[in-house]
Symmetry: D2
Subunit: 457 residues, 4 copies
């Protein structure tokens, strides 16, 4: 019997039901029901025969779900109720004992924590795979020069390996974020009951151990009200997606005819419905376009939690779709980025030609003067003046005369000056730690490889 | 033949395909293909027999889709390609003429504009239905007093009708927003081709007329790059959802035991998995929780468009899921709000008792002194002092002695003072336009009804 | 006297005070106090001498504020209280009558509505100025070819005028949005009192007329709870800022060495602290970076309003900073965009060279076959095959032999084929309405000019 | 000399300048300049006399800034340039050596990292202070019953201490987030130069050690492009602010007349401009309203970083205002929450009366039946039926007859049943770990105190 005398309005059922999306939690729900059942029997809250009947029924339900043979019914409001209903159909009245000493509030929090933990682990591995692809690409293009850009203006030449490794360090930080999110799922909500704890002498530590939680949530009210771990996962995902949007944006840019630094493989591009010549970097564009979607999910969950009085409120059901779509979106984006990096063909000639732009040696000329004792700020002014003379007279820096050079500064040695204008000079002069000189990049590559190896270990 | 020599990577296909969601555009796509076909023939770009063959095939495809008998194939990247493929299977080689003088870029922009126009119209009607339910409820509770709150503190009594009508005016503004969004879909993109226009002497005005557009998009580049109308719809939906979140929040609050102002019907509430006594306002809570989701979709589409160079970029494919989920979410929320308002039973006794709190007549006492010539700011101080005396001595305002009253101000008439402390006095003294006096509320109700009738006309 | 016996905590004062930002509302506040005062006297709620004293004091306060000689005091919680305090210092006890028949709730809503109305009008004019600059630039570069891009791949040639006009149409839509926001401020909140109306027979229509409102807010509860107009302004600003971010992104891209389509003037670029050769498009980058800021303000105000019970809550104070920063940010962005467009020097040679890429004529070749009766989809395949042969053999399309062409399709005329590969042919063949053929662009330019002239009228 | 021949446009200067906000970085900027200067001399890149002159000038500049006597000039684009200018005025030409081997790109990244590190530490301490206040309040109200709510419906009684401790665990997690953010600032950007490293044999480790960084950023490109640590801080702040919004919302709710659970002190409330009786919980409302602001800053910075090609772009200047406003907002919110909790007076009578609602013992009755062997789901139905009978007949559960009870279930013992309806029974039966039984709450309080003590250590 229920305390309700009217049936649900169909519109309400449409708004309220979560089965269409929360069914993907089924194996977490079964795992927790198994652990809960074993604990109830161990604590003599139910009998051993009840336990066995419940476990057998859970096995049967699992088989049906694995085989996609589970018959959902109209009245199944969510996956938890659907599984309990089916357990009861299979096991008979004893099925009604499954929900002893727990509530949907702690049950759902536990499922979502398990899901988040798995998703964070999965994301971490996918991040590693992309980092590995970038490291391999860096190794394969160790000494390929291209311009480094600031403000999308050519600034100083760097090696492609150095540029690709920049993304590796972003990803290694993303990994720390996913580990943090994973660690935030370490407290078992189950056992908090509806909000106040339960009327039984349960053994929450045993359940925690079986389900892989480090410890039990210390406050039952917080346990059913808390979705911080979901926010942590979404925040990690948002930053990772933002990183991918930068990578995607560069691949789009570099595959333009104007840059021509990379050719994306046919397997990762599309044609046009009307322009037969087109080869479009759709996957790279979508890396770019998916970041705002994930950031929006993060914002939305903050919005859901905003100003929500304790303890459980139905609003919390809105955690799942934001989380699930983020997991799926990030998964396909990481895989796509990995595939594209593995398939990308870089165009050494185009990059090298761009890196040979004389103007980008200007800082080196200034530093040459510094080494002769001229204060940096004065050097900057001298070189800026030479650039202006060259640009206004339509010449390159290399075409300035000895007279013009010496007039700009008597510390300027025309021979050294012209040598500095060549690309190699500049690349190998960046000897500071983390800089682009080859020895430094090799050092960095080793460090990145070691960091990644730690994860695999 | 294609310019590609490798097949798509399966991960790319998973990232790139939009068929799983854009199939809901099918009837817009068929409508535009019909209009486009007729125009091509009318302009002698294709023959009349070609036209007839294409239209017959489109009819057949439509029948399959209506009957849910359309067989999608793995290679169908999106609904547009799926329909064209099937048209060609049915009609033969002539199917290849369907895409003459158009591109997927203008085709998809047109479908999305049609979808947005329909959705805005649909939302407007759903908004009207909720407004009507609120007007009916206002009429049924015309003179039921309850406290008006500021800062969630009882401030001044109002009639329930007046309070409910506040939501009607919000909704009437929402309707203007949806009308604005609808008007922003009035320019036909079709005919813009990939971006530059087409090589044929088309008649875009004819297509516009058949599809119900007011005029043709005046710039082909803008036509394929523009998603402003989607932003306009999302913005209207976000504000409407924010309004509904306020209504939801009040229903949650009012159905608490502490307020007890409303009983939501069984049909719109849920029980608890563990607490047999519970009757939870889930639908009202979800009204509250869905607003951040819609606001996030709006933000996300802004994020997608952010810094996107012209013209069409694949990023624009991300318009659809944000739009579709918003349409569906808003639809069920408006219907749920309407159902709840129609089913809510207000508790006149609880509201009236709360509205009888003497303290909320304090402004009226101050105004009584104003009318005797005391400057308002001084009156405010006199009454605040009386409140403090009452609160600190644990008495109500009505229990203050004549002596205390006259000591506070010699302009204070004890008899008038005590009469002011009754609720009715306060309610009917709010005679300004838009105020809570019954005559004013009746005036307002008439105005709201007229505004709504205009929409029905 | 006050009902409070303890002073405010200094931290509370820091959190609570709005004077640091709401002081910019002062002239709206004085304008409304004048109108309110005149109405009170006209309705005989205060005497004519009171009115004159109040108006004189308001004049004096205005002079102090204009002269930046107004002495704010620590206890001034907001601009409204500061002005009322000063009026009372100047006029004496009669100053206490200024707040008769109004509340801070309707007062602040009125100030914010006035501010929003002004800001929307100001934005509309700034949008027009940018549109005019773009129209002038379009006119000055009417027939300068450049590639149109889809997916940042060269797609089809267009004229620069056509490309620049795409932004004009975006801006003309922005203008409609600002007009809509302006129209949403048309209902006067003043007279709603705290929430329930006032105890006086006021003449709200007279106040509305003096302050330029179309009508009075019909529901006092809604009047003090409503910030929709602020959301409408923020939404208009967000879309406008997103448009500017696209313009900024293109200016950054086009001023890269790789594109080289535009040279931004020295007046709108910066140097580098270390690289003397750099000329960075900082202003264009900031156009790009400011859009997320404005979108975030829009989201934030939605968040503030989320689930807020009626009527006024302190949360509403958070409307102002979001609004003010948006107004200032948009103002400087629109002015900067206008300045940059007016100062930009386009590089016709670089653009034209890029537009001469033979591949971008591929659609025209396909359409040539269409005109000879081949279904479009077949044509697309034929040309895609030719592109593949050319790309794989390292030749341009123009270098394919007659034999190769005829082998691809017997409908392909080698002479017509090679003529189609020239840029001009393609540009002038886009004859559809809104297309890039010069006659069509001239038509469009006229339409844009007319639309703009309507605003000036 | 500069490479520019025109001055900056005043509008550009207004858009571009960051001095108005980045001046608050001055002491970080001076700290890094000192460390950089010492390193340059230690590596013999500048002489010891140069070092001494620069350090003396930096001391002088610091004194001016401390004394608020630093004269900013119109041409000072940012704080970095202002300080370098002044150093040069004081020290003469040697001032020009300060910028040797660094760029504004690595300089600003270093300042922002230092600022973020400090801010995260500061937030952690403020979080601790609030947690301490809550622990103290929990201790003072250890055994005060109130209803725990789900869906804002009374669900099960809990102790106030238990409820307050729920916030403590949220805050302890916030602290972990701020520690994580702090850890993400551990890599020194300085020495990355503009993007590629520098031409000098610098000692970045020495600089890192002096400035308190754990290690140097391993990739110069990433070092100048990275703002992840700012995102990490903003994410921690957003979650913390969301927690505070829940606390604020409960304080608002509890201080309503309907709940009446708490009286906020005068020092943390405001009066009304018009209603003399009002005492408004403004500070609590603002806790609620500030969360969306901080979440918006987080979204905005994600938006700024979105799709940004490497390396430094001017867009990154938009990190600062989002960060600064978040730091200030969170600071005042945490302080206000601490003050309010310390000053709040809880109303034990009102809470206890609410907790005595018989209906909230329903779960205990069901569990009573469970212990007699009835499956939980059946018990739930039995009790729900009793609730329905009581509600429909307008009686309390305690008023049901023995006959009605036994008719519902022969396992139901009327005497035990009526005893379960008393509040104390329910509270002390929640014996599971983390539950509301006093012994459990004491345990929890100890754990919270220990966790906090670790931070202080």
């Amino acid at each position: 019997m229920s305390r309700f005398s009217e049936p649900q309005d169909p519109v309400f059922a449409r708004l309220n039901t979560s089965l269409s999306f929360d069914r993907r939690l089924w194996h977490h729900d079964i795992a927790q029901s198994r652990a809960h059942t074993r604990m109830l029997a161990a604590q003599a809250i139910i009998g051993d025969d009840d336990r066995d009947a419940l476990l057998a029924a859970l096995d049967a339900v699992e088989s049906e779900l694995v085989a996609d043979a589970f018959a959902f019914e109209d009245g199944d409001e969510d996956i938890h109720m659907a599984i309990e209903r089916r357990v009861t159909e299979i096991a008979g009245a004893v099925g009604g004992k499954l929900h002893t000493a727990r509530s949907r509030n702690d049950q759902v929090a536990t499922d979502v924590a398990l899901f988040t933990r798995d998703s964070a682990g999965h994301a971490a591995r996918a991040v590693d795979a992309l980092a590995q692809a970038l490291i391999d690409a860096a190794e394969a293009h160790l000494d390929w020069p291209l311009p480094g850009y600031t403000h999308l203006q050519r600034a100083q030449p760097v090696y492609l390996s150095h540029h690709l490794l920049a993304y590796v360090w972003m990803l290694l930080r993303d990994r720390e974020r996913f580990s943090f999110a994973e660690a935030q799922t370490a407290a078992l909500p189950l056992g908090a009951g509806a909000l106040a704890g339960v009327n039984f002498d349960t053994d929450r530590d045993a359940v925690a151990a079986e389900l892989g939680f480090d410890h039990v949530a210390p406050n039952s009210i917080d346990a059913v009200s808390n979705r911080d771990f979901a926010l942590d996962y979404l925040s990690a995902a948002a930053t990772c997606a933002t990183h991918l949007s930068r990578l995607g944006a560069e691949l789009v840019l570099w595959s333009s005819e104007e840059f021509g630094f990379v050719t994306l493989p046919d397997a990762w591009t599309s044609g046009s419905s009307i322009m037969p010549q087109k080869k479009n970097p759709d996957a790279a564009e979508l890396l770019r376009a998916k970041a705002p979607r994930i950031v929006a999910h993060l914002s939305a969950l903050h919005g859901v939690m905003h100003a929500l009085p304790l303890t459980y409120n139905k609003d919390l059901q809105e955690d799942k779709e934001h989380l699930f779509d983020t997991v799926d979106t990030l998964d396909v984006c990481l895989a796509a980025a990995t595939g594209m990096i593995r398939g990308a063909r870089f165009n050494g000639e185009r990059m090298s030609a761009a890196a040979s732009d004389e103007l980008i040696a200007a800082t080196d000329v200034a530093d040459h003067l510094v080494k002769r004792g001229v204060p940096f700020r004065a050097c900057h002014g001298i070189v800026a003046g030479l650039v202006r003379v060259a640009v206004e007279s339509g010449r390159s820096l290399g075409e300035l005369t000895d007279g013009e050079l010496v007039a700009a500064s008597d510390q300027l040695d025309p021979i050294a000056f012209r040598e500095l204008l060549t690309q190699t000079s500049s690349l190998e002069s960046k000897v500071s730690v983390g800089g682009t000189a080859l020895a430094r990049v090799r050092e960095q590559l080793g460090a990145a490889r070691s960091a990644l190896a730690l994860h695999a270990a």
